[in-house]
């Protein structure tokens, strides 16, 4: 196989980027869940250790991480509905692009509702 120099990136459109974002958010959520299962399991080992770990979640960096996690879950959920419609609704493939814009719209609205409250909690004390 020829190595360098690299070829160009395939210029896919909305469908390809939405798929990529779905993958990335899916992996992010999966790894969070993995960590979350582990830290929750810690309560059985030692409640003190559990409290110490959960305490670190109050850190603003973790707060931003939580915002990212919610963003990932929200996108993954709405786009998941879009994919389900593409799978089961006979006209779904024809409207996939419109549905992606609806997903992005719902995402923006949801995040606009959530972020101010959440960031207020993270940075503005309790």
């Amino acid at each position: 196989m020829p190595e360098a120099p690299a070829g160009t990136l395939y210029r896919g459109r909305e469908g390809m980027w939405s798929w990529l974002a779905h993958r990335v958010t899916g992996f992010a959520i999966f790894f969070f869940l993995l960590v979350h299962v582990l830290d929750t399991a810690l309560v059985r080992v030692s409640p003190e250790a559990y409290n110490a770990v959960i305490g670190t979640y109050k850190n603003p960096v973790m707060g931003l991480g939580e915002a990212g996690l919610v963003a990932a879950v929200v996108y993954h959920a709405f786009n998941g509905i879009r994919i389900t419609l593409i799978d089961f609704w006979s006209k779904g493939t024809r409207y996939q692009r419109v549905m992606l814009w609806i997903v992005i719209g719902l995402f923006v609205v949801t995040m606009a509702g959530f972020l101010p409250r959440h960031l207020g909690n993270v940075f503005g004390g309790h």
Binding site: P2, Y10, G15, I83, D87, S90, T93, R94, Q96
Partner: protein, 275 residues
């Protein structure tokens, strides 16, 4: 990066007669030296990904600048390069009219037929990148080994399967039944769809959109009796379920086939037949 010197750099001094200009003889005479009559022709640079295994083990980019007309397609520019600048440039083409499916290539990052891509639509002010289609082994320059692609095509049995006695007249079909699979009859097996699919790039075993399109053409044909068998073939780990509805195939198909729609219909047919 090995940058070979492009034989022509397309400067304004270039004599109009020396360049591949194919304008009518009656074109207005240029008013001064170095000026061209305004026939709408323009210089265009092709940035071609080349691979000449007998000379160099690695692929490299090479640029060629040619003179093109408003009505020229990328294929015409490739011909100019091959016929007038560098005869070693290798690509497939046969009909030159979008019907044989020989010249699918990646043009400015997207799979297109060179013979259907008008230069003026490709933003000729910037160099136009031309690469072989992805996911199939490159043999030379823009030519790839299509065999894995055709192997998948053969596997779905793309021919009419019937039982019983052959009728003495034609096999009749209502216009509605014919319309059911009309879209997928248009395929020219150019592989633009299959080689635009990220799933196929990562897993060459995947049947790919084109094979599914051609299975769809028979699965939904009321005269065919091999549907169940074909669904069985595609109900494979490397079959339709690999499709992640990325839509690159639909966007790439030069025949305007709704490829993803056809794949989804095959998936749904599998589900409804299973229950």
């Amino acid at each position: 990066m090995s940058t070979e010197i492009a034989p022509e750099t397309g400067s304004a001094e270039q004599a109009p007669g020396g360049a591949p200009v194919r304008e009518p003889q009656a074109a207005a005479v240029a008013s001064g030296r170095g000026e061209r009559p305004d026939d709408g022709s323009f210089d265009v640079t092709l940035r071609i990904r080349r691979y000449l295994p007998e000379k160099d083990a690695t692929a490299y980019w090479e640029e060629f600048t040619v003179r093109a007309n408003r009505t020229d397609r990328l294929l015409d520019a490739l011909h100019t390069v091959k016929w007038e600048i560098d005869g070693s440039l290798t690509f497939r083409r046969s009909c030159a009219h979008g019907i044989c499916g020989s010249d699918a290539m990646r043009i400015n990052g997207r799979n297109r037929l060179a013979c259907k891509a008008l230069l003026k639509d490709l933003d000729p002010a910037k160099p136009i990148t031309v690469e072989p289609i992805k996911g199939l082994p490159v043999v030379k320059d823009l030519v790839v080994d299509m065999e894995p692609f055709f192997a998948s095509y053969r596997e779905v049995m793309p021919f009419l399967i019937t039982g019983g006695n052959t009728p003495s007249a034609e096999r009749r079909q209502s216009p509605e039944d014919r319309a059911r699979y009309d879209d997928t009859t248009k395929c020219i097996l150019c592989a633009a769809c299959t080689s635009s699919c990220p799933v196929f790039w990562n897993d060459g075993q995947y049947f790919g959109p084109a094979a599914i399109v051609n299975a769809h053409r028979f699965i939904f044909d009321s005269r065919d009796e091999g549907g169940a068998q074909r669904l069985e073939i595609l109900n494979d780990k490397e079959g339709v379920w690999r499709c992640r509805t990325i839509f690159n195939c639909t966007e790439a198909c030069p025949r305007g086939i709704e490829v993803t729609k056809a794949i989804q219909e095959v998936k749904r047919a599998m589900i409804t037949r299973a229950f």
